[in-house]
């Protein structure tokens, strides 16, 4: 018995020693791994410096810039709230959905706290920040060919410039950043509005770089959707034209010259002889979107693909409609103001194509039918293949008409205007402006005629609001809008339109960050 006890004591002693050894060992293990133990990095993500290592990485980041552009809060196919719904073409009669916030846009009662406005502002700056990050890091990467690098730079600079072009037209003075911001302090330091002329100078610098880059004149079918020289020249021309008509009033000669130069350069790069050789409907034909030579730049959607399809054809279709999509419409579709319905000249085939009347008892109104994919491939779920056209030659040609008109080259202006009218199947300006009484009274000047032509040719392509701003100084625009018939407008109140509506309010959350340097626009 005694021996047994001794043995068990021995055992216990051995266990004690082992236990102590184990404890010491564990303590050492845990203490020794301390430093790296707390430095945990996300196994699913790489840091910015880790990312930019090869030219492929730069391309992937460039794709990220295009992706940002595609968002419907940015410039995607359904971003009409921020452009066309501000104009006299479309809007909504629904003052209820989402608590009436979208209605504020066409009712000219927009508040700085509007959440859609904030989304748009955010999406625009998100795109810019992606371009900046790429441009700040691209020089750390070795490229096999310098030409590739210059092309990537040109694309990123162009996208950045395009977004600033939207910002400066929608808000006036805006914060301007051209390099990557990586710390909160850097962001805070750059949070201030920069005067519109400075912003324009940056836009022109970036776009000029793109226009002089080794980008292809036109992107081949496989890479449609990327920026080309045609794109850079067309938009650079538009930027000069816009600055000439909205900012440099009275001192716009050189801008108009530049606008003319780049728009002409773009026109010279076309892959067709006469616009008339391209049927109007081909422009919107899903089967021809990668080959139609009129298209300069578009955002690409994939037909039948559950993740990448275009929604616009099906969404625009009203109940009872069959033009756009095999997906049955459920409501009123995309609104068309009667003001626009009345704008079309008699027998303009573009009217029949662009808008359609639904006689469904619960609709009895017009809806947008310009964007169509009623193919079986798009199917009953409306997985359309429409690309969203950002720039096409009819636009360039009408801008050339506009520039020439401003420059006093009336003959040239009319020639350009007629290119579009002829292709559409309409009489020439000469004939209409002298024989069509209605035309003569409504579009009494060449300027108004060009504005009209742009409206019907480019309807619902998110240009109308900017066309109005280019054509009329803001006080004239107030008069113009107030001259419209309320009954042709819908539920939104024309009377609410005032000089404040030249610009959106700066989103509330930005103004409270720095009320002095992020001052609010007047009237809000």
């Amino acid at each position: 018995m005694k021996t047994f006890l001794d043995q068990s004591n021995l055992k216990i002693n051995t266990m004690r020693n082992k236990f102590l050894q184990a404890v010491c060992l564990m303590s050492i293990l845990f203490c020794s791994c301390k430093k790296s133990f707390l430095e945990q990095s996300n196994p699913e993500a790489v840091t910015v410096p880790q990312f930019f290592t090869s030219e492929t990485d730069v391309l992937l980041a460039l794709n990220g810039c295009y992706l940002a552009l595609k968002s419907n809060s940015c410039l995607g196919e359904e971003s009409d709230l921020y452009t066309d719904q501000r104009s006299d073409d479309t809007g909504t009669n629904d003052n209820q959905s989402n608590a009436g916030e979208p209605f504020q846009f066409n009712n000219f009662s927009i508040l700085a706290t509007n959440s859609y406005l904030k989304s748009h502002w955010l999406a625009l700056y998100t795109t810019i920040s992606r371009c900046n990050l790429l441009l700040s890091n691209i020089d750390n990467v070795t490229f096999a060919s310098d030409s590739t690098k210059q092309q990537y730079k040109a694309e990123a600079k162009f996208i950045r410039a395009l977004i600033y072009f939207h910002l400066v037209r929608k808000w006036g003075d805006v914060p301007m950043v051209t390099q990557a911001l990586t710390t909160p302090a850097q962001v805070t330091a750059a949070t201030f509005r920069v005067k519109a002329p400075v912003v324009y100078a940056q836009i022109i610098a970036d776009m000029t770089d793109a226009a002089k880059s080794p980008l292809p004149i036109v992107q081949p079918s496989a890479t449609r959707g990327r920026v080309s020289l045609q794109t850079a020249n067309a938009f650079l021309g538009q930027v000069y034209l816009t600055r000439a008509t909205t900012l440099n009033a009275g001192n716009n000669g050189t801008d108009l010259d530049s606008a003319s130069y780049y728009l002409s350069a773009c026109y010279g790069m076309r892959n067709f002889t006469n616009l008339a050789s391209i049927p109007y409907t081909d422009v919107f034909d899903v089967t021809k979107k990668a080959s139609c030579p009129e298209l300069i730049w578009q955002i690409v959607y994939l037909q039948g693909d559950i993740n990448y399809y275009s929604h616009i054809a099906a969404d625009a279709q009203a109940k009872g409609g069959t033009t756009n999509s095999l997906k049955p419409g459920t409501g009123v579709g995309y609104n068309v103001t009667h003001d626009l319905v009345n704008e079309y000249e008699m027998n303009d085939p573009r009217k029949a194509f662009s808008i359609t009347y639904s006689s469904s008892p619960s609709v009895q109104d017009w809806y947008i039918s310009k964007f169509r994919d009623a193919s079986g491939a798009a199917g009953p779920n409306g997985y359309g293949g429409n690309d969203w056209i950002l720039m096409r030659y009819a636009d360039v040609i009408l801008m050339l008409a506009e520039v020439n008109m401003y420059q006093g080259n009336t003959t040239a202006a009319i020639q350009y205007l007629d290119m579009v009218r002829t292709r559409a199947g309409m009489p020439s300006y000469e004939i209409s402006s002298t024989t069509d009484a209605s035309y003569m009274s409504k579009f009494s000047t060449l300027k108004l005629a060009i504005l009209h032509e742009r409206r019907v040719e480019l309807a619902f392509e998110h240009h109308r609001w900017f066309d109005l701003l280019r054509t009329f100084p803001i006080n004239d625009l107030v008069t113009y809008i107030h001259s419209k018939n309320q009954a042709d407008w819908g539920l939104a109140q024309i009377a609410n339109f005032s000089t404040k509506d030249e610009y959106f309010p700066i989103p509330y959350f930005e103004t409270i960050l720095d009320p002095v340097r992020m001052y609010q626009n007047s009237g809000y």
Binding site: F37, L38, E44, S129, L181, P220, T223, V363, V478
Partner: protein, 1203 residues
């Protein structure tokens, strides 16, 4: 005098150190003439200096001993002599020695007739034998203690009374009968300060603890509650436990002393048997021994960076040496809907539909400047739509509800009560088996439980299995080891909550009573409302019974916890302890949305419904590892007591999630991701979600891996002097991987002090005879790291895709948010002042605490300019100089109102008052948040106010016909373009809203023009109500009479308001879905103006005017709820039962959530819906109700058998 002498009182001599040979081998000599106990103890103290003697001065003074003479070689022998000769009975139990004084020299008493010998066992309520209990024959000098097995033997005559007492138990008297055997059970009781509480890495007597702790013992829990959280409701002061959701798998929400955070979590830290590892929601309530909630920062600071929400310490039952005990508990119950919401019936709803469309038609015609006459109410739908295009849903009336020719409502064909259709009486079954026991060297407690609870909503429920094994062993006096193993497995059948398009609970409120549940053939009637939605302005909602039955959501969780510990006495008084833990959790979540439900307006099985069908499967594995090493030094130096604790802990949590969605189901035969179409299977990441891939409701995490690590050093010093003065200091240093390299480490100190005034000589029963009084004060710092991982470094997001040409999409990468590499802790500094008061022999006990806490360096998703490119233009950062204050008062009262042998009545209650206030937002602007389904904002957080106050307009009144003339005058002066009146214009009528789309009409509400500029716009917004109660309270009544026990528990809240998010649909007078019954009181005409509060019906007109958040949509959230009533009966000891081995049977019945008294219109005023998809914003939007599973009333019966 005799009475006084007969009074039995107790002296506790606590050996806080292990009794060492040195101490017990000493020779003890006492020779004290004419002494009292104080002198005896002082003498003992001198001769055994390593032992601390603490006793009640007051009691000792009353005792006189003629002469005490002791000579012994060992302390134990001396104590033995003291017991035999002088009635100083002692109990030595491990570290504790308890002395009981029973006067030997009692005054001459009638000599009991030659008694016979009585034998028996004294045990506790659970049948565990009590050693060292005192058995005394009343009126005689006969007194004996019980032995190791609780056994006693004493001479006592039949008809005399035995008085049995023991420390920590209520004294009991029993009548001696003829038999020779008498077993007695004692109930726990006496001073709550003698309870042992767990305070983090240590346990100690409550009387030694100087912080604020709330303790709940197992017997105070409502055992018939299905989850631990529910069992806790209303039981603890300063801790708000809310039942916010009635689903069988939901947990309660626990908030300790208010909300100090904005964007970081405010949940307390849960520590189960020393293992801090999140909340095991489904722990077996029967396994719980006690719950201790550390409320003040000084107490919680020992848990450092995770403690600012308080710490909930859960201790499970452990084995005791003695006879093995087997217990079996069976419970059966039926659950039902606790409250039915009052809604419109079919005919009332039909009338509302007609009124709403007619009103809108007239409004829109007049707005368009067209002529109107009331005969146009008889216009058919085609005429209406031709006149006002684009508004069909607002002006068209379902032809089966309206006789157009006569302009009258047609009574609807059906009158369905959708709540009756969706909810059922559901069964609840629970089996619990536990086995515990042990020897001196090894003790064990094993338990297993199975519980099945059907949900009251069809197709919901939970089945649960629990297993636990706790083992303790003493390898030697110095080396002790133990292990805890537990398993929790649950299978949930879940439903979705929130908006009616996926929440059946909301659907049953809004779905129209005019539609049937089933078709004539017995199949579910689907797509009835949705098909008509576009034409008649119904919400496009599916039959909620079909949504509940056909949407398949299951969640299976398995949690395994392995914990092993060992302690070793390195040197005398110095104990080293190692604790190693591992917890794994695996979860399988499956979601299937079938094609047999409408997809928006499109009917089941349509191409659109087929395209909408999808399955999501999520697998989550979590592994948490813990190592803790502590050194504890514990020693008495004369009257000084010192306890030192030092420790090092390290913890690592790995989480791995795979979340996959499959689409392209051609049928519903196999509702799993394996049956999706080729090429339509997505691994879900934030990038795919942004691209619109659905991920199975709100219940699933996205694919990803993460590791989170924590290293800590901790120390605590406790010092006390003579049991009067206590001083404690602690410090913990934490390093967390969640924070930026610059701010990874933080230090959390605390100090606290206590003063037992009643032990002072000058305290002579001030407050009452036999009263105790103690004051406490503390300060501490605790932290919060409840944020996601990897927030301090900017990284690239998961790749997405972008198509070019006609190619398949190209991969696109982009950077995530700009991050703050200085990201650090959020800290809470808190003062606590407390008072513990025992009155009338501790029959009334009061614990009161006042606290004032400041949380600073708030973790906050602060606004940052959009130029950062950050999602939603926010950055997670610490707001420097920010401060949120929570101050308040909580008081707990426990009263033993009646205490007799046969009847006991206890009442206890608590009240908590908390005041939350933002002192400084640290340069962040006012935070205005969207907390319900409105684009308009609902909550505001700004300096000087509590976090997340309701934000909106104040209703000024209702427009009446008599106002219209003045409105017309105002109209003539109003400039629409500038939205203003001429300077100095004085408004004649009610103010107009600039956002309104229709002019004011009779029956509309108008808002107050706060700034007096004549119009109502965003400048008139402000705080309109508070989601915070003025106070919350709970009270419990418990009594027992002989073998019957009865309990009733209540909880309540007073003075808070609730934003009923459902109002957006249930109280909008649109007739787009069913509405609260109160809508019948709406304004209909000047002849029928209703109750003057509910505005007129309209499907279009008043939307932007009246349905913005205003005081109209706030409700009183005060309530009083009876959370539990239970009654039990313990079968008397029957000889026959003992033969079968059964030592006790108790049967009981309970009723949970018996009733709730409230004015709230919805199901449950205890609301906690978080509308934001970003759960970290929840603190900013409190007090919102929205489509949540309603509470359940449960009827339970059970039987508890002890073997």
């Amino acid at each position: 005098m005799i009475k006084k002498l007969q009074r039995i009182f107790t002296v506790h001599l606590v050996f806080l150190l292990l009794l060492s040979k040195g101490a017990s081998a000493q020779t003890i000599r006492l020779d004290l003439p004419g002494t009292d106990l104080a002198k005896v103890v002082t003498a003992l103290q001198q001769q055994a200096p390593s032992i601390n003697f603490s006793y009640s001065q007051e009691s000792l003074e009353k005792v006189r001993l003629d002469r005490v003479q002791v000579k012994a070689g060992r302390l134990q022998d001396a104590l033995e002599i003291l017991q035999k000769r002088y009635g100083l009975h002692y109990l030595m139990d491990g570290n504790n020695v308890t002395l009981k004084y029973v006067p030997v020299a009692a005054p001459p008493a009638p000599r009991a007739t030659e008694g016979h010998r009585i034998e028996g066992t004294v045990s506790d309520e659970n049948g565990q034998p009590l050693k060292g209990a005192t058995v005394h024959v009343k009126g005689s000098g006969n007194t004996v203690p019980t032995d190791e097995n609780g056994h006693y033997s004493i001479e006592a005559a039949a008809g005399s009374r035995l008085e049995i007492s023991s420390v920590g138990f209520s004294t009991r008297e029993v009548l001696v009968k003829d038999g020779s055997s008498l077993d007695v059970r004692l109930k726990e009781g006496a001073n709550v300060l003698n309870e042992v509480v767990f305070v983090g890495y240590q346990k100690m007597r409550k009387s030694d603890f100087t912080g604020a702790v709330a303790s709940v013992k197992a017997k105070e829990l409502n055992v018939s509650a299905p989850t631990l959280g529910q069992a806790l409701v209303g039981k603890v002061a300063g801790v708000v436990v809310s039942q916010t959701d009635g689903s069988p798998y939901a947990s309660t929400k626990i908030r300790v002393r208010g909300v100090g955070s904005i964007n970081a979590g405010s949940d307390p830290l849960y520590v189960i048997d020393g293992y801090p590892v999140g909340n095991d929601l489904y722990i077996n309530p029967n396994d719980i021994e006690s719950i201790d909630i550390l409320k003040d920062a000084a107490s919680a600071a020992i848990y450092g960076s995770r403690a600012s929400g308080g710490v909930v310490l859960i201790t499970t039952k452990r084995g005791k040496d003695g006879k093995g005990k087997l217990e079996y508990d069976f419970q059966y119950g039926v659950d039902q809907l606790a409250k039915k919401v009052k809604l419109l019936n079919g005919p009332q709803f039909a009338q509302l539909v007609v009124d709403g469309r007619n009103d809108s038609y007239r409004d829109l015609v007049q707005n368009a400047g067209l002529p109107w006459n009331d005969n146009m109410f008889k216009d058919d739908n085609t005429t209406r739509n031709a006149k006002i295009p684009g508004n069909a849903g607002s002006i068209s009336i379902p032809t089966e509800l309206y006789d157009f020719a006569n302009g009258t409502v047609i009574p609807p064909k059906y009158n369905t009560d959708w709540q009756d259709a969706l909810y059922r009486n559901a069964a609840f079954v629970r089996h619990n088996l536990s086995f515990s026991g042990g020897t001196k060297t090894i003790r064990y407690a094993l338990s297993g439980a199975y519980q099945s609870q059907d949900g009251i909503m069809v197709n919901t429920g939970q089945q649960r299995v629990n297993f636990r094994a706790n083992v303790d062993g003493d390898i030697s006096d110095k080396l002790k080891v133990g292990a805890n193993l537990s398993f929790t497995g649950n299978t949930n059948q879940e439903t979705q909550e929130g908006r009616w398009d996926h929440s059946p609970a909301f659907g049953a409120l809004i779905y129209m009573p005019i539609f049937p549940v089933y078709n004539a053939d017995g199949s579910l009637a689907t797509n009835l409302a949705a098909a008509q939605s576009a034409a008649y302005g119904y919400q496009s909602i599916e039959n909620p019974v079909a949504t509940a039955e056909r949407t398949q959501i299951t969640r299976k969780g398995n949690r395994n916890t392995y914990n092993a510990f060992a302690s070793y006495e390195l040197l005398s008084h110095l104990v080293f302890k190692a604790n190693l833990g591992l917890q794994t959790y695996n979860e399988q979540y499956q979601y299937y949305l079938p094609s047999s439900l409408s997809a928006g307006i499109y009917p089941p099985f349509s191409p659109q419904a087929v395209a909408a069908a999808y399955a999501t499967s999520m697998t989550k594995t979590m592994k948490d590892q813990l190592a803790e090493f502590t050194l504890n030094y514990n020693r008495q130096f004369g009257k000084h007591s010192l306890n030192l604790l030092g420790g090092y802990t390290v913890q690592k949590t790995d989480i791995n999630v795979l979340n996959v969605t499959a689409r392209g189901f051609q049928n519903d035969l196999i509702p799993d991701i394996t049956s999706g179409a080729q090429g339509q299977v997505t691994v879900n990441t934030p990038a795919t979600v942004a691209a619109g891939v659905p991920t199975g409701g709100a219940g699933a995490d996205l694919t990803g891996k993460s590791v989170n690590t924590l290293i800590s050093y901790l120390g605590r010093v406790q010092y006390s002097y003579e049991g009067k003065y206590y001083l404690t200091g602690s410090i913990r240093t934490d390093g967390s991987s969640r924070f930026g390299p610059d701010n990874r480490w933080a230090v959390f100190p605390s100090v606290s002090a206590g003063w037992n005034i009643s032990k002072e000589s000058f305290y002579r029963g001030w407050l009452s005879e036999n009263s105790t009084l103690r004051l406490r004060a503390s300060w501490g710092l605790s932290g919060n790291n409840s944020i996601g991982n990897y927030n301090a470094i900017q990284t690239f997001a998961n790749p997405s895709g972008i198509p070019f040409g006609n190619n398949s999409p190209s991969t696109a990468y982009y950077a995530g948010n700009v991050a703050d590499n200085k990201l650090g802790w959020e800290s809470t500094s808190q003062y606590n002042f407390g008072l513990d008061l025992g009155l009338f022999h501790d029959r009334l006990f009061v614990i009161a605490n006042y606290y004032d806490s400041r949380t600073y360096n708030l973790l906050f998703n602060n606004n940052i300019s959009a130029i950062s490119g950050n999602t939603n233009a926010t950055i997670l950062t610490n707001l420097r100089n920010s401060k949120i204050q929570n101050k308040g008062f909580d008081i707990q009262l426990d009263g033993k109102v009646v205490q007799t042998h046969n009847f006991n009545l206890n009442l206890s209650g608590n009240i908590s008052i908390n005041r939350n206030k933002v002192l400084n937002l640290g340069g962040a602007s006012t935070i205005i948040t969207n907390g319900a389904e409105r684009s308009y904002l609902t909550h505001i957080t700004e300096a000087g106010q509590p976090v997340g106050m309701f934000y909106g307009y104040q209703v000024g009144g209702m427009v009446r016909q008599s106002d219209m003339a003045n409105i017309a005058i105002d109209d003539a002066n109003y400039n629409k373009a500038t939205q203003s009146f001429p300077k100095d214009y004085v408004l004649k009528g009610p103010p107009r809203s600039t956002a309104q789309t229709n002019p004011l009409r009779p029956g509309d509400l108008y808002f107050k023009d706060i700034n007096g500029d004549g119009v109502v716009n965003s400048k008139d917004l402000g705080i309109i109500g508070s989601p915070y109660p003025k106070f919350t309270y709970g009270f419990v009544l418990s009594m027992n009479y002989r073998n019957i026990d009865f309990n009733a528990a209540f909880t309540g809240s007073y003075g808070n308001q609730v934003l009923d998010g459902q109002d957006y649909y249930l109280y909008n007078m649109e007739g787009s879905g069913n509405q609260y019954a109160d809508v019948v009181n709406r304004y209909r005409s000047e002849a029928q103006p209703g109750n003057g509060h509910v505005f007129r019906a309209s499907r279009a007109g008043t939307q932007s005017n009246s349905t913005r958040l205003s005081t109209f949509y706030l409700q009183d959230g005060s309530f009083l709820r009876c959370t539990n009533i239970s009654i039990g009966y313990s079968l008397p000891d029957i000889a026959g039962l003992h033969k079968t081995g059964i030592s006790g049977i108790r049967i009981y019945a309970g009723l949970n959530n018996a009733f709730t008294i409230t004015k709230y219109k919805g199901y449950n005023p205890e609301v906690d819906y978080n509308y934001s998809t970003n759960s970290s914003a929840a603190n900013l939007t409190p007090g919102v109700d929205y489509g949540v599973y309603p509470l359940v009333r449960a009827y339970n019966m059970g039987v508890h058998v002890t073997f």
